[in-house]
Amino acid sequence: MTERKLGRGVAIVGAGMSRFGTFPGRASRDLFVEAFQAMRESVDKGLDPRDIQIMYLGNYSSDLFEGQGHTAPLMADWVGLTPVPALRVEDACASGGVALRQGILAVASGLYDIVLVGGVEKMSDLPTERVTDTLATAGDVLYEIPAGFTFPGFYAAMATAYMDRYGATPESLMAVGRKNHENGALNPKAQFSLTIADIMAKKIAGAEKRGRPVPTWRDEMEFLHDHQANPIISWPLRLFDCSPITDGAAAVLLVAADLARQFTDAPIHIIGSGQASDVALHDRPDPTVIRAAERASHQAYEMAGIKPTDVKLAEVHDCFTIAEILASEDLGFFERGQGYIAAEEGLTRRNGPRPINTSGGLKAKGHPVGASGVAQAVEIWHQLRGEAGARQVSGTPDLALSHNVGGTGQTCVVHIYERR
């Protein structure tokens, strides 16, 4: 079927995020206030929050992470939006992107003109094994989890199948992590505003200070091969192949396109949107393809009337390094089996021909699950407006894409953004 156009155009006129990291003593509501304020400050001509008419909240599992359900009206209250409708949207790690898509539909429905889309997750209060348990609930807890699969485990299995099929190696994956840390080092809100080399230097300085044996890594690759410094999480994925446990929030303000100039002279239009679902990982014919991403991006490209080659900049869902490689193929940026070669060759670096994850991605920026999809839109807002600071892609790109995956790919949502 031919993808339809939205009933009404939709634009982003404000976007902001909290710092990402681990923040003991700060609850979801505190993170959300910080993101909301950052969003508000980004609205060039100012925003009276009383003009917001509805709020969508992407959140994966405040239930398990904080023991808090019914999070949406609570967040709405904490930023002063009561009594507008407030609802939570959940599709695991794609919750933020799916909330954004619902915000777009709300404007297109004609019922709302000014919509807040937020995302939040407070993950660091739980011990690591319970974070592992909680993330695993995005798989099928009856048929997948009792097999011993964890969330890294699912993607690690995709990686072994991909490596077997195409000849990629653990080193191919490391190229993705190195690149995303290079970008994250230029993002002051990232959880790791550090390159791998910066992290090595910090560890050496720490060992010297404490009088411990000082590591003698020759280069980043030697560091990444050190079992102590970069332990295996789920083979072939090591620590630096995995996005961290993160607390954070993000928020974007959507308005009907015809109202956008009331808020800014540089709105970012959302011209394509797609979403699809899929079965459990074991049930798919090929574990090296995220079919929901293929399908969602196809929908978004068709709605926007563009081809993959038109995309100047993409924020993709690198929950694990292998995920970024698969995404770069699912989105049509590279042929099947070529994504890892592109990563190794540096084609996806910030100044390469196909920049991916200039924000640092989930790997370096951090991955507060329900906020990540919204934070992708925040990065694109900055880049398309030429306001990304030290990590600004040269030439100020005019067309960008975000790709947000839930679970192992049971959900994918893709958006396409344009500066006009």
Partner: protein
């Protein structure tokens, strides 16, 4: 046949009897593992249980070092990892399972494409947290 069957609980009961059972649609012939009550191909709700051979092939795998709570309680940890994998049965469906008969400390020796067969706990051996286990019987 109750339309309310083909649940996970019934599937587990079969496993406890050392039967790996799938559901087959009596309308279109599609075979489902995990079993399901409603056919997603023809939308009929007319299934029958069918025992599988338990032979298959390893499609993908991982060696899990950072383990979930249930596996931690079962004695696994960072230094005692285990292997999870996707197994394509010879009858067609693919399922998630714990994989034995491989060296978890040398993942580079584990091969996608290896032949596997289902194994059940012997006698009154504790089945542990993973009810479905396949053993690698030969390399591809």
């Amino acid at each position: 046949m109750s339309p309310h069957s083909f649940t996970h609980a019934e599937y587990l009961a079969h496993l406890q009897n050392h039967v790996l059972a799938a559901s087959r649609c009596q309308n279109c012939g599609e075979l489902y593992l995990p079993p399901r009550p409603l056919c997603r191909r023809c939308f009929a709700q007319d299934m029958r249980w069918e025992e599988l051979s338990g032979r298959g092939e390893l499609v993908a795998f991982t060696v899990v070092h950072i383990v979930p709570s249930a596996m931690l309680e079962a004695g696994y940890d960072q230094d005692r990892p285990y292997v999870s994998g996707l197994v394509r049965l010879e009858e067609g469906p693919t399922i998630s399972a714990l994989i034995t008969g491989v060296d978890a400390h040398h993942p580079e020796t584990i091969r996608v494409g290896s032949q596997v067969r289902v194994v059940f706990p012997r006698g009154d051996q504790d089945p542990g947290p993973a009810p479905l286990v396949f053993e690698v019987v030969s390399e591809s």
